[in-house]
């Protein structure tokens, strides 16, 4: 197979031109591609542990993007070059984020709580007319890259272009989600392939597949954004954020029920960190603990409530939580980094909640029509004050709702009803802004964006809208049509509420913390709805064809027979028959056989009428038996 290069090819001129080029090029300032990795661990109030892996890969502006790379994944930058993606986010999620227990008002939940299945949105840097084409190509490329059926987002009836309800205001934005996509390790492996160390080294080595997928929630996210360099010549740099959020249940052997479970990295993941990814610029592990009763900064890491197995390198504090920072540079094969947390006293705390908790459900029954309701319930959030908009002299909570309806859910927008504290509300009071793009059958999905301004003291608000179930064409049904159809999650966001974790210390060097410091929009996704549609009997077309054809054939045949009938003749014949009487049964039989054989009725011969008819009937019997045997054999062999 392989052949050897035995001797060298010696182009002398190459050396000269190369040295010249090096001499010319060395004056240029080179900004390198950078990679950082971080892991955030956080005990959750409901005895679970959240692990958030965060990888950032940054490519400086350069004119050779898509061609020469050192750390930045070639595949991604080629994608950017080819489809002119300006911003993009792709997430694969299994499980639902528990907003009550896992938090709804912190940067982590607002960016990493994603709807079930696949969600993709992208902003393109192309003329308006080409945006849809770019989107279609991008979905195909991504589905190849991540081994997922993202290409189903290609059809125009599965994506939408939100204007303001999504949070990112751009008219070149496309959004689509696939609630039914099953996420598993075949999606994680290509995602890991984009990391320079993959899962061979560093923090990502913790991603033991069985323990990651045993969790209650896992969401793997990839976000790509362009960083403008300001220089036109160079174009823009790229920032690729990859994060994996997992909620795990530590195995507990604790005696006390009240006590939070103690855990360590090896008990959570079954692996330990044996060193940083050598290519990472920074490699940190953070532990975020909320609701400490006795904050004494000096000996915080081993206090009355809990104890850490490793002394943190730094301790940061915010209003409501503490953050322990560990560098994993020092760990090695001989002494792996295995952070553990052991609780000593029962401890209880609650997470910050979004101002309203959203849930969505279906109303009505039957296969004809129904209604979708979104229920917003006030939470016991103690900092509602943040979102106060006192401009009109009233305290209000602004809420954006963004919802996509598939075309076969035919929504009647005039039936939109808004209830505030169980009182039906005339829309104009609460509803500030609404943007509706109705669906077109088989062409595009419907989209609804609305902005509500609810009074701060609201207890609950409900929105309901009625719909008719459409009929699909027979070949549009998926293979498991009886399972029902999914309506993608609605997105509820609070434009006046921004979550951020501001640590006092100067931490620009740590990428995850700078991420937390940025104010992020508080948002939450609702449940996916399952709408059962009427599913036809899929053999129906053939049945219809067969029945109508049989009816037509019968009609046609009898008409033709009637046309060529000679009634006078038959009557005369019957009359003559009546003259020579014979046994009633025999005559009937002979007429029957004559019908079958298509011959004029024989007059029973005088010689041996009985013998002949018995022969006939034997023959007939034989035929019937033959047919029955053939049918039975066919049945037997075909079912076998």
């Amino acid at each position: 197979m392989a052949r050897l290069v035995l001797t060298r090819w010696i182009p002398l001129l190459i050396l000269q031109s190369f040295l010249l080029a090096v001499a010319l090029g060395s004056s240029r300032v080179v900004v390198e591609e950078e990679f950082t990795e971080a892991l955030l661990l956080k005990p959750l109030p409901d005895r679970k542990v959240l692990a958030h892996f965060h990888f950032e890969n940054q490519a400086p502006p350069s004119n050779s993007h898509g061609r020469h790379h050192h750390l930045f994944p070639k595949a991604i930058s080629q994608l950017v070059q080819k489809f002119r993606v300006k911003e993009m986010e792709l997430s694969f999620t299994q499980g639902r984020w528990n907003h009550e227990h896992w938090g709804g008002f912190d940067p982590l939940s607002s960016t990493n709580a994603k709807p079930v299945g696949v969600e993709l949105w992208a902003v393109f840097d192309v003329p308006h007319a080409q945006v849809d084409a770019s989107w279609k190509n991008l979905t195909h490329a991504l589905s190849g890259l991540f081994c997922a059926s993202i290409n189903f987002l290609e059809s125009s009836s599965s994506y939408a272009s939100p204007t303001w309800g999504f949070g990112t205001n751009s008219d070149k934005l496309r959004y689509g989600s696939l609630p039914r996509e099953a996420v598993c390790t075949e999606n994680l492996t290509p995602w890991l392939k984009l990391l320079p160390c993959r899962d061979k080294d560093g923090i990502s080595a913790l991603m033991n597949r069985p323990s990651v997928y045993r969790g209650f929630y896992h969401s793997q996210r990839l976000r790509l954004s362009m960083v403008d360099s300001g220089e036109e010549r160079l174009g823009s740099g790229m920032l690729l954020e990859q994060s994996l959020t997992v909620v795990l249940q530590p195995d507990t052997v604790s005696v006390e029920k009240q006590l939070q479970p103690s855990w360590s990295l090896s008990s959570l993941f079954g692996r330990k960190v044996v060193g940083k990814c050598v290519l990472a610029k920074s490699s940190n592990v953070y532990l975020q603990v909320e609701g400490l009763a006795h904050p004494e900064t000096q000996t915080l890491w081993t206090n009355a409530e809990f104890e850490l197995s490793i002394k943190p390198d730094r301790t940061l504090r915010e209003l409501s939580c503490f953050l322990f920072v560990f560098d994993i540079d020092k760990s090695s094969d001989s002494e792996p980094f295995d952070l553990g947390l052991a609780w000593k006293l029962p401890s209880k705390w609650s997470c910050q909640q979004a101002p309203l908790h959203a849930s969505r459900f279906l109303m009505g029954s039957g296969n004809e029509r129904g209604a979708i309701a979104i229920l917003l319930k006030a939470t016991e959030s103690h900092d509602k004050l943040y979102g106060r908009d006192l401009s009109n002299g009233r305290c209000t909570i602004k809420t954006n709702i963004f919802q996509i309806f598939p075309w076969y859910v035919k929504v009647y927008y005039h039936t939109l009803q808004i209830f505030v504290d169980q009182q039906q509300n005339t829309s104009s009071e609460v509803l500030k802004k609404i943007n509706v793009s109705p669906s077109t059958d088989k062409m595009s999905s419907g989209m609804m964006e609305m902005m509500l301004e609810l009074p701060c003291e609201v207890k609950s608000a409900a929105i309901s809208i009625e719909y008719d179930k459409g009929f699909l064409h027979i070949d549009e049904y998926p293979p498991d049509a009886n399972q029902g159809f999914d309506i993608p999650s609605a997105l509820i966001s609070f434009p006046d509420h921004h979550a951020s974790l501001g640590f006092e210390e100067e931490l620009s060097a740590l990428p995850l913390l700078s991420k937390f410091k940025e104010e992020s929009l508080v948002r939450s996704y609702t449940e996916v709805l399952l709408v059962p549609l009427t599913t036809p009997d899929f053999s129906m077309p053939y049945n219809v064809i067969t029945i109508t054809c049989t009816v037509f054939a019968l009609y046609f045949g009898s008409l033709l027979n009637a046309l060529r009938r000679r009634i006078g003749e038959e009557e005369r014949f019957l009359k003559s028959k009546a003259g020579k009487k014979t046994g009633g049964l025999k005559q009937l039989l002979s007429r029957f056989t004559a019908k079958i054989r298509g011959r004029p009725v024989e007059s029973p011969s005088l010689e041996s009428p009985a013998a002949q008819s018995s022969v006939l009937s034997r023959k007939l019997l034989f035929k019937i038996i033959l047919v029955a045997v053939a049918a039975a054999a066919w049945q037997y062999f075909s079912t076998k």
Binding site: L4, V5, A21, V22, A75, L279, I545, R566
Partner: protein, 600 residues
């Protein structure tokens, strides 16, 4: 109905009798009626005449393909191998007594002898001219009609130096307006004094020169043979030994005429050391001329990446004598670790373009230095190997194999080392195209020094590539179109869109253009239009709509139409038959009645 039946038997015989129905009656006195027969046959024929319309309505759309043109193209490609016109010019400087016509016929004989039996595609139609320049700068020539003349006395006997001679020879022959201005020349210089060593050099344009003293004495056996050898083995065949090494399947160009060179630097264990390279500069300085030179043959793009944690999958062992780890040639099939080397993530290579992987493998601390041991026990100088149609691998050992205990060192591969790596790359690249990577070409008659080109490929090599490539492309285009036409003809229910028809048409057009360009001697233009022909043919063959065969098959058609047409056809045909039978029977009866009446 009743009246008709009455009408039918206005019997003149006894009215109470029923002569027609009684089978024993053998006569009737009236003519049998035609009415029912007419009705049933009309129905039958209207059904039969409706059949073509039904057939038309279930027919599927098929664009008309030029089957005849396709067949004639493949016949032509098969029967007459494509030949390009090549102009050869031999100049003998410093020969006193030589008859150019005799020389020409001798060289022609030599060329014929060498090309005999290998009438393969992409070779030359030779037109040869010979000039003999005597020491006193007097010339005698033997020229075929179309070639240009060599200006006598331009080449001096003693000024031939390797570095500059190429350019000056190009100037000498630049005035020639041969086929596309391309003239291959061999200059034989007989020096006045010398040590009898014959030096033969092939330049990187289209010229070769043989310099020596006392050549006149050895004229018949050596000089003529070597001149014809240079023409045939070097200029015509590109210095390749085995003629079939560059058959179609080994041409590393994608069927859409694109070639992607993907360079990867593999740090097998970054915990020991990390090496990086500045590939962009390499690309700009060293690879750009090569890709530009090969532009007529393939649309080449270059990309690079650095990968980490990529161990090789074969084992290496420590060799005391060589003080290094060695892997043997038998290990090479297992060297490439396709599980860990994620080389192939390229959105740039869309569709059917070809990717050649070039890999620089940096061994980890546990296996450093790593060397390739040849079967004869020696260490390979390049420390690399190629895999045809896949690419090449080079093992590059860091200068110092002792790893520091602390954190891994980050290094850049020095420009000198990188330049060496690129040299090996270019050698491998040439080998993948079927050329030699050596600077010396040896035959039975002696060796030739081959001057390298800064572009990786010399002009005469590019000519050879163009010729072979045109030929291969045309062959492949013809076979693809031939298979398409066979496929289309064998599947009558296949939908063929207009696009496919268009592509086939344009492909044939481009193939014609390539053939005519080839006969005119336009090497690069015929190469690029043959490339287009091939890619269009492949596009037509792999058009996505060609997969829509399976739906609406005959079975489907039968299932839809048979529930109606089968029973109805039964009725109609049976009715017509019976009426016809009855008519015949009744007519016979009538005829017997007639005859009896006559006799009576």
């Amino acid at each position: 109905m009743e009246e008709t039946s009455d009408h039918l038997n206005p019997t003149t015989s006894t009215p109470g009798n029923t002569p027609e129905l009684d089978p024993k009656t053998t006569m009737r006195s009236s003519k049998p009626g035609l009415k029912r027969l007419l009705i049933t046959t009309t129905v039958l024929f209207s059904f039969l005449s409706g059949l073509p319309f039904l057939w038309k309505s279930v027919e599927i759309y098929r664009s008309q393909l030029p089957f005849h043109d396709i067949d004639s193209l493949s016949d032509q490609v098969k029967s007459t191998p494509l030949r390009f016109p090549c102009t050869f010019h031999a100049v003998f400087v410093g020969f006193r007594s030589s008859d150019p016509d005799r020389l020409r016929s001798e060289i022609q004989d030599g060329i014929d002898k060498l090309t005999r039996g290998s009438s393969q595609c992409g070779s030359c139609n030779v037109s040869l001219s010979v000039t003999v320049q005597s020491p006193d700068e007097h010339c005698s020539e033997s020229l075929p009609a179309s070639t240009c003349s060599y200006r006598c006395g331009v080449i001096k006997r003693d000024v031939l130096e390797d570095d500059t001679v190429d350019e000056s020879l190009d100037d000498v022959f630049s005035g020639c307006s041969g086929d596309g201005g391309k003239v291959y020349s061999v200059v034989v210089v007989n020096k006045e004094k010398g040590d009898g060593v014959v030096k033969a050099v092939v330049g990187n344009r289209r010229h070769a020169w043989i310099v020596g003293s006392g050549l006149e004495e050895r004229f018949g056996d050596v000089v003529v043979a070597r001149v014809s050898e240079v023409f045939v083995k070097v200029f015509m065949n590109g210095g390749r030994e085995d003629e079939d090494s560059i058959r179609g399947e080994f041409m590393p160009v994608g069927s859409d005429g694109r070639l992607l060179l993907s360079f990867s630097l593999l740090n097998s264990n970054p915990r020991d050391w990390i090496y990086d390279w500045d590939f962009q500069r390499i690309d700009e300085a060293l690879l750009a001329p090569v890709t530009k030179a090969l532009a007529p043959i393939a649309n080449i793009s270059v990309e690079s990446q650095v990968l980490y944690h990529t161990p090789k999958s074969s084992f290496s062992s420590w060799d005391e004598k060589l003080q290094s780890y060695v892997f043997r040639t038998s290990d090479l099939p297992f060297f490439v670790n396709s599980n860990e080397w994620h080389l192939d993530t390229s959105a740039g290579a869309s569709g059917r373009s070809k990717i050649l992987q070039f890999v620089v493998y940096i061994p980890s601390g546990k296996e450093c230095p790593l060397h390739l041991q040849l079967p004869n026990g020696e260490i390979s100088k390049t420390n690399g190997f190629i895999s045809p149609m896949w690419g090449g691998v080079i093992v590059w050992n860091p200068g110092n194999c002792d790893k520091d205990s602390g954190s891994p060192s980050r290094n850049m591969i020095s420009p000198q080392d990188l330049e060496q790596i690129v040299e090996v790359f270019l050698g491998q690249f040439r080998q993948l195209f079927g050329f030699k990577s050596e600077a010396i070409y040896t035959t039975e008659l002696g060796s030739y020094k081959i001057l390298p080109s800064e572009r990786g490929f010399t002009e005469w090599e590019l000519d050879v590539l163009s010729r072979k490539h045109t030929c291969f492309n045309l062959q492949s285009c013809a076979t693809t179109l031939g298979s398409l036409s066979r496929l289309v003809q064998s599947l009558p229910r296949m939908i063929i869109k207009d696009e496919i028809g268009e592509q086939v048409k344009y492909s044939l057009k481009a193939a014609k253009l390539a053939q005519s360009n080839a006969s005119l001697g336009g090497y690069s233009s015929s190469a690029s239009s043959s490339r287009e022909a091939r890619s269009l043919a492949e596009n037509a063959f792999f058009h996505p709509s060609i997969m829509s065969v399976s739906y609406f098959s005959y079975e489907h058609c039968f299932a839809v139409y048979s529930p109606f047409f089968l029973p109805v056809a039964g009725h109609v045909v049976l009715a017509a038959l019976r009426e016809w039978k009855r008519y015949k029977q009744e007519k016979a009866k009538y005829l017997t009645w007639l005859t009896r009446k006559k006799t009576a």
